[in-house]
Amino acid sequence: MTVDIGWTGLVLAFVLVAVAIALSWWQRLALERSLVWASVRALVQLLLVGVALRFVLDADGSIAWAWVWVLLMIVFASFTVRVRAREVPGLWPLAIASFGAAAVVSLGVLFGLGVFALEARTLIPMAGLVVGNSMAATVLVSRRVFEELRDKRDEVEARLALGASSADAARPYVRAALRTALIPQIEATKAVGLVFLPGAMTGLILAGVDPLDAVQVQVAVMYLILGSVATTTVVIALGVSRRLFTTDHRLVRIDRPAA
């Protein structure tokens, strides 16, 4: 029942890239080189990952290498977050902490309650879902908290001047940032199935699994993503907010980027 397209199938699928290239050439989009580069890069990257995964999964049932993989994933994702929200100070350690917290919470629940059996084959994809899906929300929320506290400095200081702690003074702005980051995730969860078939389910159905079994896995995955996004964003929002105050409840000076 399994699907195996083989190398021939892969080469034939490349015909679709050729279609895209032809269209780009016909409409003079000048995107031919980018199309080739992106397609080749995706192929090479995924092949490397596939080879590495095969090695990790074959490692005589030991999942030590899988944990190393998860760790590297978290470090790399945190680095990406830091690069994409460069203006926010001290973001790298905060991002590592938030991805770490999400991994502990969501993997702890899924494996701890025995929803999935803990093995290299389940650990790596699950951790990948946690980190991969939280990345965009993490970037969004850390920038949002930073900008809110910078742009509403007058209000924040007025709250401090009324005797609020830095956590209390920041709370309305942190809350607004978190809502902005979480609402799209909730909307996507609501629309699932109606608009598009999510990746995990598509993959399972293609691989010959019964659709209802695929749905069960997919729903568990969606809950995993929701839980992870909530955890990472809350940790990073509180972390960024904390970094912008001194221990004696003053808001630090935030220089605006030169306009």
Partner: protein, 206 residues
Amino acid sequence: MTVVAGPSGSGKSTLLRLCNRLERPSSGRIWFRGVEIDELDPMALRRRVGMVFQRPTPFGGTVIENLRVADPEIDEPAAGALLTRVGLDATFIGRAAHELSSGEAQRLCLARTLATDPEVLLMDEPTSSVDSRSRAVLEDLARELAVGGVAVVWVTHDMRQLRRLADNVVVMVGGRIAHTGPPESVERDASAAVRAFVAESEGGDE
């Protein structure tokens, strides 16, 4: 009531912000009632040393929700009474704070600060962006509070306001205190810096 005057950029606001610890001094020390303020809990200090800022800073939500940031326990009659003190009608309670005019918002900010029952009131050019009626309300209430025993420190760069309000005057120029004394002594000060400030300020249009 002490009025702190001086040209813009002379450090008046910084002086106020040092008093409620929104800034910390790079050198020197500040005492409040015999205790160095570094030894006081900053949150407790700020409730005793209230501040109204130059630009009105209404928070999101209704007027009473704004007052509840300062005093979570405040009930509607007490909130109405506070509003009346700043010349706003008690029916303002349910209005959205962001929809108030600049002058109304600034009076709400003063009411909000008074909800913490401060012993010292720092007023950082509170009338620079408000209508004349709001200005009169803020000035009168500040005078009344000063008479009632609240230490009021009012920052301005307007000589006429200084004469209306001050019992004592501190003139700052270039980050330093250039003059202290009763209001009528300011114009007699012979130093070039103070005379330049007075001359420029009298030409002001408030």
